[in-house]
């Protein structure tokens, strides 16, 4: 049920769906929870963050959190997404090469700064906990990989890339270095990297 709730949570709830039995979900509480989560993450890691602390800070019952999110990872993912300027849409690219460059640029932007730490920690949690893994994949990793894959496939059709290019390998080559740097030397995930890496990476797989 939580899963269903989560779905509905993320989606734009249609007016007809809201006409349900029982007291409706408190939007105020939801906002308070996500806000408290983001606030706490400025001072501590995802692992250190506790549901109890969120509940206390948001002045909300623990139950309310557990009712709507299956675990900490899900709360944090939602909190990240709720941040302003995260889901800024990409401008229309003129070709697939540019599309990929824009996606990588956006990814690096997102991982630079405080959110980067949080996402690295979520990536971490996902390694250990199956439920966390699924949520992280569904809300973050899969969309990213799918988008890049799509651009590569399109690029192969449009002769921007050679048709012999292994799509999955290309995805790893494009995204892997970014995450590796994030997790091994986060300080080097800076502006310079953002300006040089995407072009360089695409150039390599085009070769």
């Amino acid at each position: 049920m939580s899963q269903a709730a989560l779905q509905q949570n993320n989606a734009q709830t249609t007016p007809t769906m809201q006409a349900r039995k029982g007291r409706p979900r408190s939007q105020k509480s939801k906002t308070a929870i996500l806000k408290a989560t983001n606030s706490l993450l400025l001072h501590m890691s995802v692992q250190e963050l506790s549901i109890e602390a969120i509940a206390k800070k948001a002045k909300v019952g623990k139950t309310t959190i557990y009712r709507w999110w299956p675990n900490k990872t899900a709360v944090v993912m939602d909190a990240l997404r709720a941040q302003p300027g995260i889901q800024s849409p990409l401008p229309t690219p003129k070709n697939n090469t540019e599309a990929i460059i824009m996606q990588l640029d956006k990814l690096i932007r997102m991982l630079d700064g405080n959110n980067g730490d949080t996402i690295a920690q979520l990536f971490s949690e996902a390694q250990a906990d199956d439920k966390a893994q699924k949520i992280f994949a569904r809300t973050f990793l899969t969309p990213l990989i799918d988008a890049v894959e799509f651009s590569i496939e399109q690029g192969k059709e449009h002769k921007e890339f050679r048709s012999s290019l292994n799509t999955k390998l290309a995805v790893d080559l494009l995204c892997g270095p970014i995450f590796f740097r994030l997790m091994s030397r986060p300080a080097d995930l800076n502006e310079e990297f953002r300006e040089t890496y995407p072009k360089e990476a695409v150039r390599l797989i085009s070769a």
Copy 2:
């Protein structure tokens, strides 16, 4: 003190060092702890693994663990290293290109299978916990990066790679995809990948 102890732990303790006052360290306990850790990691993640569980399984006091290792990450790293067939030395490569290929091949071998999960989880823990970060970096990541960096630098000197190659970026390009695949699609970290990736990756940065 724990740091010192760890050092001593890893090095071959000279006979003179062992000739100290008091009851000597029980080799039996150390073995039991590492064995128990490896055994437990077959059924659970590093995050789920608890010091208490190790102590119980190894029939050892918790204090004994805390005396010799600063935290869980350190225990697990030691336990991994204690596994047979992990530190197989590399054969002498005929040039730096081959050296890198061999290092990547060894890395993929190590990450394939059960150990891969554990290392991914350690990589994870390192994101959240500073102490874990330091230990993971010192015992795993830095040696790897240093070795690859060294080979690249050497390769640049020997004209195997163009001198304009950004070494750090090259390291990310070589290692990043492997870890990205490990953490996002571990099933694809298979034999085929091991046979094709290293050569392909080196070819790319040579271009």
Copy 3:
């Protein structure tokens, strides 16, 4: 308001009182609640019983219960009274001695079996909770004590008992042993006890 409602609840609601505005109380819900309560009390103690469980079992909103009963004790008391064969009227006694015997006999009958446990548990709750205390006293204890007191007083007037008999003490002497046995050795509150105790007890206070 709940208190007033409770009164009305117990009394025979006059037709004029029912002619109020608004939707009338659902008799169906009331019955379902009391039935569910009795049913649940067969498998659990009053303390274990929860309002939520009653509401769920009776397919009734929690609010409906809270609207009509101030607390769990009140619900359980009502549920007990709703059981068939509880409020069987006593036959007319030929004197006050016999009246007391009949009252004690009825009491023991009531306390023998499943209801005994429930009443003992109610007696218990009453020790801790003032509201419960008042309800238990009003609906169970006071009527009993008053009836016995009345018979004793009458008996004193009719020279059945010596006039120096302390009425309150006599009540304790007559009722106390029954409850003590109920709460300390409920198994001994059996048929034999029911047949022998009342006569013996009255004989003692007559002496």
Copy 4:
């Protein structure tokens, strides 16, 4: 194990038993827990009392309480016993009639005042919870009943009481009224009652 621990807890631990492995039980914590319990019981009922509150007040981990007592009832029983002046030994009676009078007098003294409420509440909890029942019986009820039974049996042998007297019934007659008054009209469990009841009760069963 907790049961065993409890036993040892109550008994005078022999020196040989204390010579065990591991850190010995902290007497300081034990004292703090019992003291905190007594202190809290001045302001709240046993039912309202929570383990968490005790732990907080005593500045003790919850685990420490759960390690040594199986439940709240056990803690409260121990706390009661730890009060000064509870286990005052009886002076030697000159016969069994007097022995019973002294036992009843002691019982009333114990039940008069704050402890009376607590014991009534414990008696209550015992009605609902089997574990509580056993502990209450073992540490309070059974000793009392046994003592009175013993005196009655002795009194029958010494011709103080008629041999046809039903011992169990006599116990109920002697003790029941006291508890009935405690639970139904605790205010009447006063000094006057303490001075008159025991003699009167014994007189009755002697008749």
